[in-house]
Every structure is written in structure tokens, then in C-alpha cells.
């Protein structure tokens, strides 16, 4: 496939993954804003900006936790910045516009149904502003937009010929996912440093934030600490119990991982277990490990017979292996080290992008390449 066509599909994958990620984060923030205290809303924004690697206008988020009205007005501005701001290259509108522009340039290799899905999604939000969605269930807007992205990938899945075009679309999508997840988890740990190691296993029981019956599930888990906490009886300060922290539940929700986590672990949202789940679980579609598996598979498919350009494949493979073999040896209590590891994963993803670019898109053709 022509390099520039493959590059276009790669970027479509990246931009749409980015748009979807932002949709999920912001929709979740609107959930938080329904009933959570002001300081939690503030933390939510901090995680959002960190997770999207966006520096707020003015350099940092201004918070005034004593003034609820201020926080709400501020939310309007922040949501606008992340959703519609043309000057923000990662806003949802910018991401969709960029995906569409890439598709327009390589439309001859983009299925008609895919193009029309993307074109419509873009026109549906092109002329909207934050005021248009603010009053009436703003969450719906983000769900609708995410639906358009999901439809796109659904059509791709069912229609696309599995040649390089498909593999580069996948490659872009999952390189972006691995990178976004590492940034989100890093931001999560920065904004919500786990308090488990401070309070110990004697912390209070599950909070009322959980809607289902925690005991029923706890009985099946082997997490002794959590069991002990559940058995402790008296209702204490829910904030003191890491397992009850709604911020970790919301992280799982953002990653569409709540149900899977509940089945796999427990309904105690233990920060270390949640982080481990989102980094290393090979079956969770929004885990770093799963994204890397997709990256490796796509690279294998496009590199067939080309040993000279295997650097990207080697880097992706090393990264996946380090999650399999190095990550389990970490000290779960050493959050500094874990954050550094996540930063390292993000950095590796950036290098991976450069490797891919050098190998497939902007290589200097030598005479030996001419076949």
C-alpha cells in the first residue's frame, strides 16, 4: 500500500481513538458533577487534563472550592475547551476534524460507508458549541459522539479488506490507546495517591457509593485485607477506605472495565489492583497490555518478509514483555516508581510512533529498495 495512504489510515485510527477517549472521560466527569462534592469535581478535572495531557488555558486549573457557583461556571469553560475549542488540537471537534481530513485525503482507500459515517459525525458537531449541549443532558452528546466512533470501527471491522490499510488503522488506534491509558493512569495516581498504605487493612468498610451488595462478592475473593475491612462492621469515613473510593470506580467506568473487574477481582476498588488490571490484563480491551498485543499483531502483519524494518516490532514486543515479566515484580506501594513506569510506557509509545514512521512512511529510499 502507498505509504501516504497507510499514514492516513494510521492517523484516522489515532484521532478517532483520541476522540472516543475524550468522550468517555468527559461523560464520566458529567456523572461526577451530578452528585459529588465540589472537591471531587475539581479532582476530576485535574485527572481529565492530566489524562489528555492538556495544559489548561492560563497554565493551571484555578480552583475555588468554597465557591460552588465558580466551580460550575469553570466547568462550562473547561468542558468547552476539551470538546469544541478549535485552538485545542486534542479537543473532540479537532480530533474528528483531523480524522475526517485524513480520510478525505485518502478517500480512495476508505470504504464509502466509513467515509459517510465519519463525514456525518463531523457535520453533526461542526456547528455546535458548549452552550448547545450544556442545558439538556450533556452526557447524551458525548454518548452520541462516541457512538459515531464506535459505528466507524464497527463498519471497519465488518467491511474492510484485511490488507495493510486495515492493519495501519488498527496500529494507529492501539498505539494511541496504549499511550492515552498510560497518561490517564499516571494522572490518576497523581491526583488520587492511594491511601491504602497509610490506613492499612483496618480501614472502614465499603461505602454507600457502591450500589450492589459488596459482601456477596467479597466472600468469594481472596483479598484478605478487603474481607477484614468488610467484617469490621462499624461504618466509618468512606474516604478513608481505598476500596470504597468512587474515583477508582470512575476510572474503571471510563475504561469500560467495571463489570470485568467486578467479576475478575471484587467490588473493592483497590487502587493497586485497579492499576494492575488496567495495565496488565491481557483480556481487557482497554488495558495497556491488550493494546500492545494489537500493536504487535498489526506490526507482524505489515512487516511480513521485511526483517530490515523490524525495529518497531521489537520495541512493541519488548514493551509487552516488560509488562508480562517486569511489571509483576514492582512494589505496589511504591507509587513513585509505578508512575515512573507509566511515564516510561508513554515515552516508549512515542518512540514506537517514530519507529513506525521511519519504517513505513517517511523512509529514505535507497537504491537497494527498488524492486
Amino acid at each position: 500500500m502507498l505509504s501516504r495512504s497507510a499514514l492516513g489510515l494510521y492517523w484516522i485510527g489515532r484521532y478517532l481513538e483520541r476522540a472516543q477517549h475524550a468522550c468517555r472521560l468527559i461523560a464520566d466527569q458529567f456523572e461526577t458533577m451530578k452528585d459529588r462534592p465540589v472537591d471531587e469535581i475539581d479532582k476530576g478535572w485535574r485527572r481529565l487534563y492530566g489524562g489528555l495531557r492538556r495544559v489548561p488555558v492560563g497554565g493551571e486549573l484555578s480552583s475555588n472550592l468554597d465557591d460552588e457557583q465558580f466551580m460550575l461556571v469553570d466547568a462550562f469553560t473547561l468542558a468547552d475547551d476539551l470538546t469544541f475549542e478549535a485552538g485545542n488540537p486534542d479537543s473532540i471537534r479537532s480530533s474528528l476534524a483531523n480524522a475526517r481530513e485524513n480520510a478525505r485525503q485518502v478517500r480512495h482507500v476508505v470504504d464509502e460507508d466509513l467515509w459517510s459515517c465519519l463525514n456525518r459525525a463531523f457535520f453533526d458537531l461542526r456547528d455546535l458549541g458548549i452552550a448547545d449541549i450544556w442545558q439538556d443532558r450533556p452526557g447524551d452528546f458525548y454518548r452520541r459522539t462516541e457512538d459515531a466512533v464506535r459505528t466507524f470501527f464497527g463498519i471497519a471491522e465488518s467491511n474492510m479488506y484485511r490488507d495493510d490499510g486495515w492493519h495501519f488503522l488498527q496500529l494507529g488506534r492501539f498505539v494511541e490507546r496504549a499511550q492515552l491509558l498510560s497518561a490517564l493512569l499516571e494522572a490518576q495516581l497523581a491526583v488520587y495517591p492511594a491511601r491504602g498504605q497509610d490506613t492499612g487493612p483496618d480501614a472502614g468498610p465499603a461505602s454507600e457509593a457502591e450500589t450492589s451488595d459488596p459482601e456477596a462478592f467479597d466472600a468469594e475473593t481472596s483479598d484478605a485485607g478487603a474481607d477484614a475491612a468488610a467484617d469490621a462492621g462499624p461504618v466509618g469515613d468512606p474516604a478513608a477506605d481505598p476500596a470504597a473510593d468512587p474515583d477508582w470506580l470512575s476510572l474503571l467506568r471510563i475504561c469500560a472495565a467495571r463489570d470485568a473487574y467486578g467479576r475478575r477481582h471484587s467490588l473493592h476498588y483497590d487502587p493497586a489492583a485497579v492499576v494492575d488490571f488496567l495495565v496488565a490484563d491481557p483480556l481487557l480491551s482497554r488495558s495497556i497490555r491488550y493494546a500492545l498485543a494489537q500493536v504487535c499483531a498489526a506490526l507482524d502483519a505489515v512487516s511480513a518478509g521485511r526483517p530490515l524494518i523490524a525495529e518497531a516490532g521489537r520495541r512493541a514486543g519488548r514493551l509487552a514483555a516488560s509488562i508480562d515479566y517486569d511489571w509483576p515484580n514492582r512494589d505496589p506501594a511504591d507509587e513513585e516508581a509505578i508512575r515512573a513506569t507509566l511515564r516510561g510506557i508513554g515515552e516508549s509509545c512515542r518512540r514506537l510512533h517514530d519507529d513506525i514512521d521511519a519504517a513505513y512512511f517517511s523512509y529514505e529510499p535507497g537504491d537497494g529498495d527498488a524492486a
Binding site: 502507498l2 495512504s5 497507510a6 478517500r107 480512495h108 459517510s116 495493510d164 495501519f168 529510499p365 527498488a370
Partner: protein, 493 residues
């Protein structure tokens, strides 16, 4: 009159009927109605179908067609203060109908003309007999800015210098006339196909009853034509379409054709030349390219040969072409044959190379380089259209009847200063066809651009991009200036 209409099976339209207010004008040939205002025999089904369709339904069809163009991104770019804008070429859903025998005649005429023009190009870049025999002045050919010295002696497969030709035709009471031969990078074929797709959906019953000939195989014919140009002969050649990129106004068409023909869409930077061969950068390394259907001008093909300041081209491309290692369609240097003064010689060129009388007539053209032509032009400026020989898109043009006396005097000065730079033609009474308006059907001026392909043999689909001047009375059909498109139905015999 009413009696005759009844005999022709077409009662006079009633009040509120789509065609009730439709006025023919004896000055202009009408594509649907005869001189008495009755629908022509080959248009009757359509006339009845449109008349029987509620007006609001027609309006809905019209709106739906235009919306589908926007959704499918069938757009062209217009450059304005806010950067490039994507716009659609408005479509009028009332098709223009060409009867079977009319098309048969047009097709023969178009084949003949392209055959002669290709022979002409082979000759002027080869032995030059047509000049030696005094058929056309040497300086007119070799002094033409579109003449490419580099093309002399280059071997062109099957003599197909022009592989894709888009001829502009108009109809007057005198029949069909060739207005212009577009022999460089003619565009519009995607609109021909898009208009057909939209109208076929809207007017499917009338379409079926009229037994309209299909045009959907254009992409396959184009691919076959291009494949025949491959220097590798029998093998399955690698064909690419070379576009200037997404900012070109015809980018939609480039993308559309790349998909229709199943070839890669490349830009200059995607191609590299190594050891006299052309390659494209693919994800699997360099891959040899055999045929380039280029949709960029000669000047931007290869900075080493044509324009050193160009950033669009591929250095070394022309050398690979001259070595016979890659085919380029259309060949560089074809523009000399659609120069406006060479145009005047095309009938002679046909007679000279084919020993036949031309089937399609030229518009009467006066060359100001000839003393007689100059005198006639200056004496009749108020009746003539004067054009620069190398101009296009309506630039450097004087429309005498619409100009003021001062404008004509000023233009006369320019003509006297460089007479060889100008030609003049009478203002044409372009035919009219009914268009949908808010007040029912109304006549608008139209032309048509069929596309003729030439590889080993000549091929064309029975259809054309029909352009229409949507502004009442206007003769300007250019899409950048209020022109629109129509589907053109060629009927089976």
C-alpha cells in the same frame, strides 16, 4: 396549434403544470421543445413524467440530490478569504436528452476529431509534415507556449498522445459545434457519473421507460485504456493517478477516479526515480510504476525538465518517460493542440491526416494574426467575442455585445499591439433546456462535455457532463461562476 399538439400526443399544459409558464424563444434551439412549443418526440416520456409529479415532490428530489452530494463529499474547492471552502456543483435534476441518432453522429465526429488530433501531435513532435506541407504555420506551432521541445522524438505508445479528451460542445440552430478541445487534464467526468447516480434514483420510472444507455463502465474503460499504455506490455501494470493534492479544486474527482479504476492516488512526493525507473513509496518499500495518469499540468511534472521552481513534481520523471520506462497520460505537450489559434486549423488538420471531411463543425474563428481577420475583428467588435489564444476560464476575454464602447476601444488597442495573441468568434446562441425553478420549469443555456478515451483503440461511454448556466439569460456555465450540472441521457436506438 392546439390541434397539432393533440396530434403529437401532448395536450397543452394546464394552469399550475410544471411547464405551464415555460417560454421557448425562436432565437435558441430548445432541447426539449420544438418550435411550436410541443415536446420533441424523444423527450415525451420525461415531459409527461415530470408534469405528472407534484411540484413539492420534485423540489424534495432536488434537495435530496444536493444533500447527498454534500454528504458524500462530491465537492470542489473554492478559494476565498476564509481559505478553501468545500462546495458542491449544484445539480438540476431535469435531465437533458440526446436521441440515439444524434449521439451516433456525435460519437463518430468525436472519434474522428481525436484521431486527427493525435496524428497531428505525433507529426509535430516527429517529422513535421503538416508544417512542411504548409497546412499550419510553423511559428504558430513551435511558438506556442504549450509546445514542449523535450517531447521531440519521444516514442508514445499507440500514438495516444491524448488518452483522455473532454470536448466542449454546444448546440445552436446550425447543429452541434465544437467550442473547445480540452486535451491537457480535462475534468468533470466524476460529475457526469454522480449526476447520473442521483437522477437515476429520483426519476427511476422515466429513466427506465426512456431506455437510457449506461455510462457506469467509464472507470473500467479508463483502466483498460491506461493499461494499454504500459511499457511492460502483457503484465498487469501498476497504474497510479497523480494529483496535486487535496487543495486542488478537482481533488474529489481524482479520488473518485482512483477508486473507480482501482489505482493508487499519488502525489509528486510519493514518487521517486531511480536508475531511469519510476517507483512509489509503499509500506513494503519502493514499487515500480508503469503508467501515470496525471492530473497536474505539464509544468509541475518534473522540475528538472519543465519548471525548476516547482515543488510539486518528481525530479527525473521526464527522463524515465523518455527512456520508455513509464507511460504518462496525457503525454506532455498536448496543450499545443487545444491552443485557440491552432483550433481554427483543426478542420484542415482532419482533412490533411484522415482525408475526410470533418463531421463536427468548428465555431467560426477569426485569427487576428491574419490581416483580414484583424480587420474583421476590429470592425465588428460589438458583435464578437475576443479571446486570448492561451487564455482559459474566461480570463483575458472581451464579450463585445456586453461591453461598453470604452471597454471595446481599450481592448482594440491591445489587439493592435499583439494581434497574434487574439482570436475572435461570433457570440453563440447556445441551446436551452428546461431547469427546475421555484416558478416551475424555465429555460437555461447548456453545453456538454463528452469524454473520449484513446489507448490501443478509441472508447467512449454514451454520456457527458452537461453544464448549465443557472442564472436566467446567462451563457456562463463555469462551475466557479454560478454554473451547475445536469444528467445527460443518451437513448438506445
Amino acid at each position: 396549434m392546439p390541434v397539432e399538439r393533440a396530434e403529437s400526443g401532448a395536450p397543452p399544459p394546464e394552469e399550475g403544470h410544471l411547464f405551464a409558464g415555460y417560454e421557448t424563444d425562436p432565437a435558441f434551439y430548445d432541447e426539449m421543445f420544438d418550435a411550436d412549443g410541443a415536446p420533441r418526440a424523444h423527450c415525451r416520456e420525461l415531459w409527461a413524467a415530470l408534469g405528472g409529479t407534484p411540484r413539492d415532490e420534485l423540489a424534495t428530489m432536488q434537495e435530496r440530490a444536493e444533500r447527498s452530494f454534500l454528504h458524500e463529499g462530491i465537492t470542489f474547492s473554492v478559494y476565498g478569504e476564509e481559505g478553501a471552502q468545500e462546495r458542491i456543483i449544484p445539480i438540476d435534476i431535469v435531465p437533458r436528452i440526446v436521441a440515439a441518432e444524434q449521439w451516433e453522429f456525435l460519437e463518430r465526429g468525436l472519434r474522428q476529431r481525436l484521431e486527427a488530433l493525435n496524428l497531428f501531435l505525433a507529426d509535430i513532435y516527429g517529422p513535421g509534415r503538416v508544417i512542411a506541407d504548409g497546412v499550419i504555420p510553423a511559428d504558430m506551432v513551435r511558438g506556442c507556449p504549450q509546445f514542449r521541445n523535450a517531447m521531440r522524438g519521444v516514442e508514445v505508445a499507440h500514438g495516444a498522445y491524448v488518452s483522455v479528451c473532454g470536448t466542449d460542445l454546444v448546440r445552436t440552430h446550425d447543429g452541434f459545434l465544437v467550442l473547445e478541445d480540452n486535451l491537457r487534464v480535462p475534468s468533470g467526468v466524476s460529475y457526469m457519473l454522480a449526476n447520473r447516480a442521483a437522477v437515476k434514483t429520483s426519476l427511476r420510472d422515466a429513466f427506465r421507460r426512456h431506455r437510457v444507455r449506461g455510462i457506469e463502465n467509464y472507470g473500467r474503460l479508463l483502466r483498460r485504456t491506461l493499461a494499454e499504455l504500459s511499457p511492460r506490455g502483457d503484465s498487469d501494470p501498476t497504474i497510479v493517478l497523480l494529483t496535486p493534492g487535496v487543495y486542488n479544486s478537482a481533488f474529489y474527482e481524482h479520488m473518485f477516479l482512483a477508486r473507480e479504476t482501482g489505482v493508487e492516488l499519488v502525489q509528486g512526493g510519493d514518487l521517486v526515480v531511480r536508475n531511469g525507473f519510476v517507483y512509489m513509496r509503499t509500506t513494503g518499500g519502493l514499487r515500480r510504476v508503469d503508467v501515470i495518469y496525471r492530473r497536474i499540468d505539464d509544468d509541475f511534472l518534473d522540475p528538472l525538465t519543465f519548471r525548476p521552481d516547482s515543488v510539486l513534481g518528481t525530479p527525473g520523471l521526464f527522463n524515465a518517460y523518455r527512456l520508455g520506462n513509464v507511460a504518462i497520460a496525457n503525454a506532455p505537450g498536448t496543450g499545443v493542440a487545444d491552443d485557440k489559434s491552432v483550433y481554427a486549423y483543426v478542420p484542415e488538420i482532419i482533412r490533411y491526416f484522415l482525408n475526410e471531411e470533418p463531421l463536427l463543425a468548428n465555431v467560426e474563428t477569426h485569427l487576428c494574426r491574419d490581416p483580414d481577420g484583424l480587420e474583421y475583428t476590429l470592425d465588428n467588435l460589438d458583435k464578437l467575442v475576443v479571446k486570448e489564444v492561451g487564455g482559459s476560464g474566461g480570463y483575458g476575454m472581451l464579450v463585445g455585445p456586453h461591453a461598453t464602447a470604452e471597454e471595446r476601444d481599450a481592448f482594440a488597442e491591445k489587439i493592435r499591439a499583439t494581434p497574434e495573441n487574439y482570436i475572435s468568434q461570433p457570440t453563440l446562441d447556445l441551446s436551452r433546456a428546461p431547469c427546475l425553478t421555484e416558478d416551475g420549469a424555465a429555460p437555461r443555456h447548456v453545453d456538454l462535455r463528452p469524454f473520449v478515451l484513446r489507448g490501443q483503440e478509441t472508447r467512449l461511454v454514451p454520456g457527458a457532463f452537461c453544464r448549465v448556466a443557472l442564472t436566467p439569460g446567462s451563457l456562463v456555465v463555469n462551475s466557479s461562476q454560478g454554473g451547475g450540472g445536469k444528467d445527460l441521457w443518451v437513448l438506445s436506438g
